[in-house]
Amino acid sequence: MKCQDFFEENADNPKPCKALQKLFKDDEATVLGFEQSSASPLSEHGPVRDDEFLWRQIVNPTHFDVATGQLKVTAFSDVSDKGGSVNRGYADYQALVLKAEKRVADINSRRPDMQASLVGLVRLECDEVRAIRTPPGSDGKTLRGFIVLDTALPGDESHADICQIVSQDAHGRSVRSKLVELANRYLLKIREESAG
């Protein structure tokens, strides 16, 4: 099965990563191979390379611990079901900040009680995300935690997704905690970035 075929089949599935996890249990090679092609027919830059940066908006204060200045693991819950939206490194930083600010304004216009605010952007390194693995099982084998796919969207050509491909709760908790640990290392808070 080709990557685009899989995503066409799951076009109406709000949780495509769950389908990826199911497929990964039966056919690891096919799922890992999806990274070699684009998931979207709109792609102009091709598959996401290991040496690319990935920008992730952090907009919801519920997933950010103000006391420690650190992200909570729930900031990346979406990688386990609908896919964790990121933008590829070639995207313009200021345009991403504007887009994030617009998203915050949209949230606050719909749900003023949530008092959403823009925390900042995380700049992940793709090869580090792809290197995250589960702890060894009884057979000593470890599994890749995520794949990173080119999922270009109309008007958002640099869009990509981080998708969790392991399905066990223990494995998911392990790899997501490691992803958030990475993200906390590379969180650029908007005020600090603007001041620089």
Binding site: D65, T68, D169
Partner: protein, 173 residues
């Protein structure tokens, strides 16, 4: 008594937080303030030890106001019972452990976590009324991750594996 303290106290009574301590916990009777490497304990004070006015309780209570869609399309409101169980568990744990931080997933699942230089531990309150614990020690590189599901949130013994990860040297002493 402030409203949050009153609520937490009532919740712990309702969930029957036990008065007995788990085996091995006695040596930790004063350990809560000795977790000097814990980020949250670094700013703890006496009021957190004697009262329920730590922000973790207020944050857990605030989740009761979350309705479907609180975190965007498809996000779900949490179960109020799960929040009460998490509050009672935290109230029980505070006698033995540094206070955790609260979290809620877009699916409405309530959790708690500790993130220290020595370890990362998170707890999820699962739909069947049990809790699951994932932990990763940072002071060792092999066999440093563990996972336990179906733990009883009202059983003080549930705290032992958390204690062992948060402060292995003290537990081994």
């Amino acid at each position: 008594m402030d409203p949050i303290t009153a609520f937490v106290f009532a919740t712990t009574v309702a969930f029957g937080v036990p008065a007995t301590r788990p085996p091995g916990a006695a040596k930790l009777s004063q350990a809560r303030t000795e977790y000097v490497l814990d980020r949250r304990n670094a700013r703890s004070d006496d009021s957190q030890i004697t009262g329920f006015n730590d922000p973790v309780f207020a944050e857990l209570l605030s989740y009761k106001s979350f309705s479907d869609g609180w975190d965007g399309e498809g996000s779900l409101a949490p179960s109020h019972r799960d929040i009460d169980v998490a509050i009672a568990f935290t109230a029980m744990a505070r006698d033995y452990l540094p206070l955790p931080t609260a979290m809620i997933s877009p699916e409405g699942q309530i959790g708690l976590y500790w993130d220290t230089p020595l370890a990362y531990i998170d707890i999820n309150f699962d739909v069947n009324g049990t809790l699951s614990i994932y932990s990763r020690r940072r002071d060792i590189s092999k066999d440093n991750e563990s996972y336990m599901a179906n733990q009883d949130p009202s059983d003080v013994q549930t705290l032992l594996p958390i204690m062992e990860v948060l402060n292995p040297m003290q537990m081994a002493a």
